[in-house]
Symmetry: C2
Subunit: 261 residues, 2 copies
């Protein structure tokens, strides 16, 4: 399965043959977080991404309300069927987790695609660094912080961060590598003392799973793509569609294209 091209994988999502986690599929290609909002929220959400580029690095936005293509990121895309699994929210409540949203599509829905840490994790692994959540085969631990995002319209909230423990010398190398990837969260925002950014218990993440932190390692924190989901929940939007966690849009864009240096 893992040798499928991004296009082939999207076609399998469309036909219903694939509905799993996309981690490890189509290596080398950008996977994206997806947010679909009614038109009345689109301008505020775009501004929120603009004001908070580290947690909300915008990779793409549909050209018009109702559009379900994104030619610059994926050929022959139907955003309504080409992800393996979706989440549908009404008035902040998770209503369904379907594999296709064609039946509930509306002409006023605006699609946003946001960078995902899979892209930089690949470069860290290629450099020989260990990614603890990968070696322990769990989801990356994520935490709510006391770092306030810049609000925009109805969207507001604290930054969510992901954490990967590293020895300091490896953390320095990771900062160098991630600095190249400004469109996928960029350099870390903090390392060391969790309490300094409002995290009370590093062993109890708010999202994802705890990972072990070994002697001599420090926690390193990256701005996380869960941040916009928190802002959307705070905004109490009446309707929203997102990808299901881990079930990303796999694009035709090579990860290396996101590297600015």
């Amino acid at each position: 399965m893992s040798v499928l091209s991004p296009y082939q994988l999207r076609q399998q999502c469309r036909s219903g043959a694939f509905s799993g986690n996309t981690s490890g599929f189509a290596p080398g290609f950008v996977q994206a977080n997806m947010v679909i909002l009614p038109k009345q929220y689109a301008a505020d959400f775009l501004q929120f991404c603009h004001f908070n580029p580290k947690p909300c690095p915008l990779l793409g936005m549909a050209a018009t309300p109702g559009a379900f293509t994104m030619p610059s990121l994926a050929k022959d895309l139907d955003i309504r069927s080409d992800l393996p699994k979706y989440r549908v929210f009404q008035d902040g409540q998770l209503m369904a987790e379907p594999t296709d949203v064609r039946d509930i599509w509306r002409g006023d829905l605006v699609t946003f695609l946001i960078g995902c840490s899979f892209s930089f994790e690949e470069s860290l692994l290629a450099d020989g660094l260990e990614i603890r959540n990968i070696s322990e085969k769990v989801n990356v631990p994520m935490y709510r912080t006391n770092i306030a995002c810049t609000p925009a319209g109805v969207f507001h909230g604290a930054m969510v961060v992901s954490m990967r423990p590293m020895k300091p010398a490896d953390a320095i190398r990771a900062i160098q590598i991630c600095s190249r990837f400004v469109q996928v969260h960029g350099a870390p925002v903090h390392f060391g003392d969790p309490a300094a950014i409002g995290i009370n218990d590093i062993n109890k993440p708010d999202f994802g799973d705890a990972v072990s932190i070994k002697p001599g390692e420090v926690p390193v924190f990256w701005a996380c793509g869960v941040t916009p989901q928190v802002a959307i929940a705070n905004a109490k939007v009446d309707f929203c569609i997102t990808h299901s966690p881990g079930h990303m849009l796999v694009t035709d864009l090579a990860n290396s294209k996101l590297s600015v240096l």
Copy 2:
């Protein structure tokens, strides 16, 4: 005085009108550590610099033994007189600290110039970061570590590091900025726990002066140009001339020319 060009400052050194610390002079221009060794040590020392580029980033080497010019770095240079102060060592002992070494110059002496942290400190300050040793008006604290340099011939020893305390977010920014300056020690080699690199008491530096570390800050450690001086002492060379600490060669090379990105 601080508006002197590098050439004018070197001329004042040559005439004896200036023999002070060069910190803050000729802003924007590269200042260099200097090591002068008899020819029989030159190949080993060059190899030591090659093997240990972070503590010993070689900016220049004289074309031939006896040469006292370095056209690529400074016009009309006489390395024997154009630094404000020198140190002369015989069999590892400091013998004199003259302002001119023309009278003891020999045809077998080979000059090496090594990058200095002044270059990256300028870029950190320009970015709005605080450099504690500058704000407290002392020499940067430096420490012997347990990080072994790669030996070359008679030259060997542990890496010496300089330390600047910073908040983690500032340290991340400093790592980005210093990564551009591979010829002036590059990115830090460590942050956080001093004991992890063999430093027993952060308040008792082996060279330079202690600085205050404020709540929320971590010590950040850079490979330091004192490392080659330790290696030279270990090598028990019979004769050596260096700059006097803080009394650097001021070159005509703009600091920005050392930035690779």
